[in-house]
């Protein structure tokens, strides 16, 4: 009897070991399929995570908003409602401490500093994992593009649905960073 219970429990744990990663997939796919896609202007740089590999950290131009609400505590959740500007890039329409009732197009960011009515916050989708050989090139490509042409030509494509956000791609001059290296190699040939 004891053996049966132990085996059953072991199978439950085994199942949990599948369910959690599968739920991560399901949640992400759900946002990609049913969420709205936004373009966030970015500035990438590339560090490494010891277990998940190389990534580029994305700093977004959207990082502060004027608000009348006070008493913001560092690290708290802040609901950032989104809209689009005339060029089709994401723009903040409102921020609040509570879940917005009138829209599903919002993300949950972390508050940073608050000073004289201006709240700084950090968007959560700030890591784009990349092939370890390409992360550094992506950073170089970004710097190059920014140096010799107009600014604001790199952005992240993010699917958003009810607070959940999935970062789908980072594009520099319309090209995905994952394909940038090949492109630069081809152009030098």
């Amino acid at each position: 009897m004891k053996k049966v219970i132990l085996t059953a429990l072991l199978l439950v744990v085994f199942a949990a070991q599948w369910i959690f990663p599968l739920k991560m997939i399901y949640d992400s796919e759900n946002v990609i399929a049913n969420g709205k896609a936004y373009k966030f202007r970015t500035q990438p740089i590339d560090p490494t995570d010891p277990l998940r590999g190389a990534y580029i950290t994305l700093n977004y131009e959207i990082r502060s908003f004027k608000t009348l609400e006070e008493d913001w505590v560092y690290g708290d959740d802040v609901y950032v409602s989104l809209t689009e500007d005339s060029l089709g890039f994401a723009r903040v329409s409102a921020i609040s401490k509570n879940k917005p009732a009138n829209t599903t197009n919002f993300v949950v960011a972390k508050t940073r500093s608050y000073y004289k009515g201006l709240l700084n916050f950090q968007l959560p989708f700030n890591r784009f994992y990349m092939n370890e050989k390409k992360a550094y090139d992506a950073e170089l490509a970004y710097l190059k593009v920014n140096r010799d042409s107009l600014p604001n030509n790199s952005y992240a494509l993010v699917f958003v649905k009810e607070g959940k956000a999935v970062l789908a791609d980072v594009l520099i001059n319309g090209t995905s960073v994952a394909e940038l290296k090949q492109q630069t190699e081809n152009s030098t040939e």
Partner: protein
């Protein structure tokens, strides 16, 4: 060790040191013992092999094979998990400890591989803390379900890593879950302790358990230095007490990390607190409530229970048991009066050193004698930094301590030789 001893047995019987019957009994005892134990070398190499393979897989996948489509990458993420779960079931049926421990280790890293690769594919937000947390949570039940020692050690290492990564640093949060994760291990430790008190695993745990907690404890200090010190004093006193109970105390010091770390920890706190500067800060802060108290109060109750048990059980009470309790009193006093507290802590440190020297000399224990001398000399050396003495005086003091070390040891050696 045993084979060398067994080789000597015929010679010992020949020369009449032991009888043939005793020799036969010894042979039987070794035979019986080796039959009970699994092949230790195989066990260690199996676990180490699984550990390296598991880590290797994680690193290979962390490379990010971006030419594979998403579906292939997802299948790759789950393949190690599927294989190692199957292997665990197989080894349970095989009922081999070596297999169970090795495949459990592999499974541990396969779980990490699956969640790390999924976060990589979907660029999921979150730093390493959330990732480690989920990993720990999904593998913690394996300790009991597989009765795995390898998972126990991995759990301990990973919860310490998690506590450090989430609890230390700018704007970090108190890692309360560490307490739960740590407590989760304790029944298994207790089970092992009663089943195989003299095994290597118990020795390893007797160092790793207190070390892990010592490292993580600092993350529970929010703002108050005073509560931080009191928390460490109580914790070191608890592990010292635990290590002083009979079964552990009789083991060699190498096997009693609790007692050694508890003692060293308390002496280090005493030396740090002997500096005047610290008390000025503590007195200016005064006593404030804080989240530290949620931990301090239960720890203090545990300490009281352990001390009471000790006083009831042991016929001869060690004076060192009362040192931590006095230290707590001095720290509380320090919140109101920094000068008194400075004097008190220096006095009690000096007294502890002297009592160690006296006990060491009386019981011919070189270890205790030299520990006492060391404590006194470190205390004096530290006082050179915050007192205004002339160099000549400091020099003379050091020369006399040096002679003291030599003389006391020499005299005791002589006495030992005589007796």
């Amino acid at each position: 060790m045993s084979s060398k001893f067994l080789k000597d047995l015929p010679e010992m019987t020949e020369q009449g040191v032991i009888s043939e019957e005793v020799a036969q009994n010894i042979r039987l005892w070794y035979q019986h013992r080796s039959a009970e134990k699994p092949n230790r070398l195989l066990l260690i190499s199996g676990v180490l092999g699984a550990l390296l393979i598991g880590l290797g897989i994680i690193l290979i996948l962390a490379h990010n094979w971006d030419f594979f489509p998403k579906l292939v990458k997802t299948v790759l993420a789950f393949t190690p998990l599927l294989i190692s779960q199957a292997l665990v079931i197989y080894s349970l049926q095989k009922q081999s400890r070596v297999w169970v421990e090795s495949t459990a280790t592999l499974l541990f890293f396969s779980v990490g591989t699956a969640i790390s690769l999924i976060s990589q594919i979907y660029h999921l937000p979150g730093n390493i803390d959330n990732f480690l947390f989920l990993w720990i949570l999904l593998c913690a039940p394996l300790i009991y379900l597989l009765r795995s020692k390898a998972i126990t050690l991995l759990h301990l290492i990973f919860i310490t890593w998690w506590a450090v990564s989430s609890g230390y640093g700018y704007r970090s949060q108190i890692p309360w879950f560490f307490l739960l994760f740590f407590a989760w291990l304790l029944p298994f430790y207790r089970h092992l302790f009663y089943k195989e008190a003299h095994s290597n695993m118990i020795s390893v745990l007797s160092w790793m358990l207190p070390l892990s907690f010592t490292i993580a404890l600092g993350a529970f200090v929010d703002k108050s230095e005073l509560w931080g010190f009191i928390m460490y004093v109580i914790f070191f006193a608890i592990i010292y007490q635990w290590g002083s109970f009979k079964t552990l105390k009789e083991a060699s010091l190498m096997k009693n990390g609790f007692r050694v770390l508890g003692l060293i920890g308390l002496l280090v706190v005493m030396i740090i607190a002997s500096f005047r500067g610290l008390w000025k800060e503590i007195a200016s802060d005064g006593i404030q409530g804080g989240p530290e108290l949620y931990l301090i109060i239960p720890l203090f109750l545990i300490l009281i229970v352990l001390v009471t048990m000790h006083l009831k059980k042991e016929k001869k009470t060690e004076f060192f048991i009362f040192v931590p309790l006095t230290l707590i009193g001095i720290f509380l006093l320090g919140a109101f009066h920094s000068v008194l507290a400075t004097i008190a802590i220096n006095a009690i440190t000096l007294a502890t050193g002297i009592i160690f020297v006296r006990d060491g000399a009386l019981n011919t224990s070189f270890r205790k004698l030299n520990l006492g001398l060391l404590l006194i000399s470190v205390l004096i050396a530290c006082r050179f930094f915050d007192t205004d003495l002339s160099f000549v005086f400091k020099g003379i003091l050091f020369v006399s301590i040096g002679f003291g070390f030599f003389l006391t040891n020499y005299l005791m050696l002589k006495r030992k030789a005589k007796s």
